[in-house]
Symmetry: C2
Subunit: 266 residues, 2 copies
Amino acid sequence: MFLRRAVIAAGGSAVALFAAVSVGRSEDDSDPLSAGWDSNWDSRASLAKQPGVLRYTEDKYEYHRKEDYKNKSNRHIFLIQHANYKTYTSSDKLTAEGYEQADLTGKRLATLAKGPGMAEKRQAIQFKHIIYSPQTTTKETAERISRHLPGVTMFSSDSLNEGPPIQTSQDPDWKPDLNHLETPFRKYIYRPDPEQSEDTYEIMVCHADLIRYIVCKSLQLPLKAWSRMSLYHGSVTKLVVQQDGNVRLKTLGDAGFMPHNLLTKP
Amino acid sequence: MFLRRAVIAAGGSAVALFAAVSVGRSEDDSDPLSAGWDSNWDSRASLAKQPGVLRYTEDKYEYHRKEDYKNKSNRHIFLIQHANYKTYTSSDKLTAEGYEQADLTGKRLATLAKGPGMAEKRQAIQFKHIIYSPQTTTKETAERISRHLPGVTMFSSDSLNEGPPIQTSQDPDWKPDLNHLETPFRKYIYRPDPEQSEDTYEIMVCHADLIRYIVCKSLQLPLKAWSRMSLYHGSVTKLVVQQDGNVRLKTLGDAGFMPHNLLTKP
């Protein structure tokens, strides 16, 4: 975790430092598949293009050689929509069907870990961790999932809060506040670090608002498209962030492992 | 089918006729959830807003009263990615795992038809039809699915051709040809007809290019986002087109009903 925080801390300065030589809107506008793609969406493209990479180590900034980059590794990010819960109560605990949903999601992830499959590796994979929002619904969902993935570290993150990215009421005093969505996006969604040499598999248990925000933002879609998607309880949305910065959506709201009577929506 | 074709045939003229009174870019720009949404994407918003609706019946155009519109009915469209097939052969027949995948997709759809579930009705539903591209991979996939849905009409449509919406090679002579994607979009993706009083459930078995084009186009996303999504063989992508013209993506590339060893990609 120390290295991760250090890189984040150095991010702002590094971007400023390299502003004069930063890449344009797209790395290669002659390639139609990348046209209009902002290759520097996570502020790391300029770092990757430098002969050396600025990183903060101990108490000083230093360059890492480009050779430190191990190519072809990806980050597989499984975004899990929390299970069904009791509305209109103060507890926000899962319903009986919510516990069933979370169990099925955990079983499905455990199956995938055996590979090959969604992980797209012809070998078993190990989930790196389960990060979850500390709110009751997401915490309970994560705990149920965790039972099926023994040995996988769990930790909560206060930054995974709930909240719509755009105004959904006619309240004239409403002001857009994307910070609570942009903060976890910047913290958790980024291309693999230079030293990452193998694919990683991470689970994030959070709320539909954040998942849809992450999908729109990481695919560089207009945020207004957020409300045009909806997610089943306990469903799996999977993104792959490649080391070259490209992002692929592999599935949105996959709930095909749920029997029909457990397909519920927020 | 006659009525359907008649409406399509009348579409162009109707739009021209109502051009002077057509609605703007959004029906209600004060609603942030619909801001930037082209409510007339299927050229039928202006019809819906008229006191009468122009339709072609027998040999003449005539108006239907607005009261003919039954509200709250939706079109549930299940877009099925064909199963795995033998590449580099002239036959394009499914592989052994392709047949397994198509069988599982059929079983899943049959389960959903029992409701409640993905159909979101607290009752059993009846699929209206299975439309498929006549190419071998899609035809074989549709036939396998059909075995699990006895009584559901099947028909092929030559308009469901394969082909990328944007240039994917550096061929300098390449010209964009969206017709083969736009034609099936206009033919099959539109809001419910005025006389539709109950939700309908339709299955379309086609190719990944067309499914991703339909998703981008119907959610009004930039078409360049097409290549940022990928779909598992036999997966289910579900759109709901509401009578008010709004479109919701309920799942993209759902393959959660496949065991991990059958999760393959084109």
